[in-house]
């Protein structure tokens, strides 16, 4: 076996341990940020070197090393780097546990990288738990009542979701006798249609797995934790949850459903339909409930439920298209990248503003256009991208994902999605209106630190690049859509 292919993960684990040990001996905690970022950069370097190589699998086909996994690894590393930058201000206020904070961010990123690459049910489950446990702790890091409540809620609901997922995996294992995704696929394809129809155990297993993964991506009706956890968690961690944990959930769903349940065609049509229905409910509920929200973190929480709905349109397309067709997968990858940059940008701006205001209420953002023009401009760009208007990335992302869905006969779903985009414009633009047209409560400027400004400008640059020259990134996504076939 070739351990070189495991280097990105090994690097990140090593740096996480170094950060913990370094925390014991050094006095100037600022170095922890540098070391954490160095770990992310080195791991990203190894990942980039491996890009474009032939798809293969290590650890007895348990860990796939293909462009799909590498794409997600890079995405998670980029998100982790931006989150580390965005939390610099916030962490420097801690008297203790700065090392633990950064180590947990790195470990959860490691868990997500493994989630994108593992191709075997037991490893998938453990990787998912590694991510979840790190995130449960990070959500409760503030230790005030709200943060603790958020962490406890996330832990309890997450544990239930894990149990449901395990139940589904156990049923699939009981039915096929295999845990490796490729072998599961072979076992299912070897069955006759009547053989599968006579066995509801497999279908039940698949449905339970969708429920378990649905919790991670905040699909309705498994979204109940989202608003409370987003509101209570430290804002950088809210940003992290809203993009990275969601992207990891989509990575694992794509891998499992495409490689294990992708064939025969009727099975993929079945789960494609299930995702289409979940998408329609998710978009509608997320957008409608976001309208009356007064807290911007809660509003973005519901917005992320709606965005998960748009993303599931992509999953439905994957289910409806023939296995060789990459439109569904590549547009989903593009949407995830664009959504990650956009939401990170929005949350970074919110961190900068709430550092000064000490409030997350939308009404307090009044007149922000005068007090902090650049922050307000960046937030406006991100909100426009979330609506899906040009020139921001969100426009191209929605364009790709919707046109793929129309090509594969999901016109009804796209109609619902477009109506929803119009509804969502109302609450996103309300924030923009309050910022630019409202009267400022005071004339005081809103300062922001260098690290925050760096994170914000990187995200906004990404949003603009993806919106203006989407072709190049789309080509990358098309290369990344090729998954290892066992």
């Amino acid at each position: 076996m070739n351990l070189e292919l495991f280097l990105p993960e090994l690097t990140l684990a090593a740096f996480a341990i170094i950060v913990i040990l370094l925390d014991l001996v050094i006095q100037r905690k600022g170095w922890l940020v540098v070391v954490s970022l160095a770990g992310v950069v080195v791991a990203a370097g190894f990942t980039i070197i491996m890009w474009g190589g032939s798809s293969q699998a290590i650890f007895n086909n348990m860990l796939a090393v293909d462009n799909f996994a590498l794409f997600f690894k890079l995405l998670f590393l980029a998100i982790a780097a931006l989150v580390i930058l965005a939390s610099v201000d916030y962490v420097s206020k801690f008297t203790r546990f700065q090392g633990e904070y950064h180590a947990l961010v790195l470990l959860s990123a490691l868990g997500m990288m493994l989630m994108a690459a593992t191709a075997e049910l037991i490893s998938i489950y453990i990787a998912l738990e590694l991510t979840s446990i790190s995130l449960y702790v990070l959500v409760g890091f503030l230790k005030d009542p709200k943060s603790t409540e958020a962490s406890l809620k996330y832990l309890l609901l997450g544990a239930v979701a894990s149990a449901v997922l395990l139940f589904g995996m156990a049923l699939v294992f009981g039915f096929t006798g295999k845990t490796q995704l490729g072998e599961i696929a072979q076992a299912i394809q070897a069955l006759s249609l009547s053989g599968v129809l006579a066995s509801p155990g497999l279908i039940l297993g698949i449905v339970l797995m969708i429920a378990g993964f649905g919790f991670k991506i905040a699909a309705v009706p498994f979204h109940m934790w989202v608003p409370d956890v987003y509101e209570g968690a430290p804002t950088p961690i809210t940003a992290y949850l809203s993009v990275a944990s969601k992207a990891a959930g989509f990575a694992i769903i794509l891998r499992v459903f495409y490689s294990a349940f992708g064939l025969p065609q009727w099975l993929s049509l079945d789960w494609g339909m299930l995702f289409a229905v979940l998408a329609a409910i998710g978009m509608t509920l997320g957008n409608v409930v976001a309208i009356p929200q007064t807290n911007i973190k809660r509003m973005l929480g519901y917005s992320s439920i709606a965005q998960a709905g748009y993303l599931m349109v992509g999953l439905a397309t994957v289910g409806f298209s023939p296995a060789a067709d990459i439109v569904g997968r590549s547009s989903l990858l593009f949407f995830l990248a664009s959504y990650a940059l956009t939401n990170l940008g929005a949350f970074t701006a919110i961190i900068a503003i709430s550092n000064k205001l000490d409030s997350d209420l939308i009404q307090d953002y009044s007149g922000m256009g005068k007090r902090a023009p650049l922050l307000a401009l960046a937030l406006t760009l991100c909100l426009i991208s979330l609506i899906g208007l040009p020139p921001a990335a969100g426009f191209m992302a929605k364009f790709y994902i919707f046109s793929g869905a129309v090509q594969h006969g999901l016109l009804w779903l796209v109609v619902i999605a477009v109506i929803n985009s119009v509804i969502s414009a109302y609450y996103y633009l309300r924030v923009v209106k309050v910022m630019w047209l409202g009267e400022p409560a005071s004339e005081e400027k809103v300062p922001s630190s260098g690290a925050l400004r760096l994170a914000l400008s990187l995200s906004c640059l990404g949003v603009l690049l993806l919106g203006i020259i989407p072709g190049y990134i789309m080509k990358l996504a098309e290369v990344a859509a090729k998954m290892f076939v066992f």
Binding site: L107, S134, F175, G201, L204
Partner: protein, 163 residues
Amino acid sequence: MIGLDIAFWVLAIVGIIAALAVVLLSDVFRAALSLVVCFLAVAGIYITLSADFLAAVQVLIYVGAISVLIILAIMLTREVQRGSPSNRLRIPAFLVAILFLGGMAFAMLNTTWQVSVAPPLEPTTSALAGLLFGEGGFILPVEIAAILLLAAILGAIVLVREK
């Protein structure tokens, strides 16, 4: 085989009654003790399945360590006397649980499962070790579990110690 069948049904019924007691008893301490009974019944079921190592681990970790931890946590909690609070959503939750149970039972009974015809191993410990650490085994999840434990320990330290 009849002896095994009888043992399975006795253990299953004891396990289910104990599990119901965990949920329904309002005294938290009694609920915790019922949980111990439930864990023991599950360990017994593992024995009827010839999973000797799993049964021993179940007794050591769940019946031993986790139960003690739960009982200690209850002893350190104030207001245990008030019992577990009631819930408005009791009846809807009950209906959903019954529906779920029905669906599960239907699916389980109507499915042809993969059944191994190989004779059970005695003992299973060395075979398990080979599977976990040997060539072609599950070393990847074992290694990820090691990192998972590291994250859990870090989390415990962060959450328990003063800020």
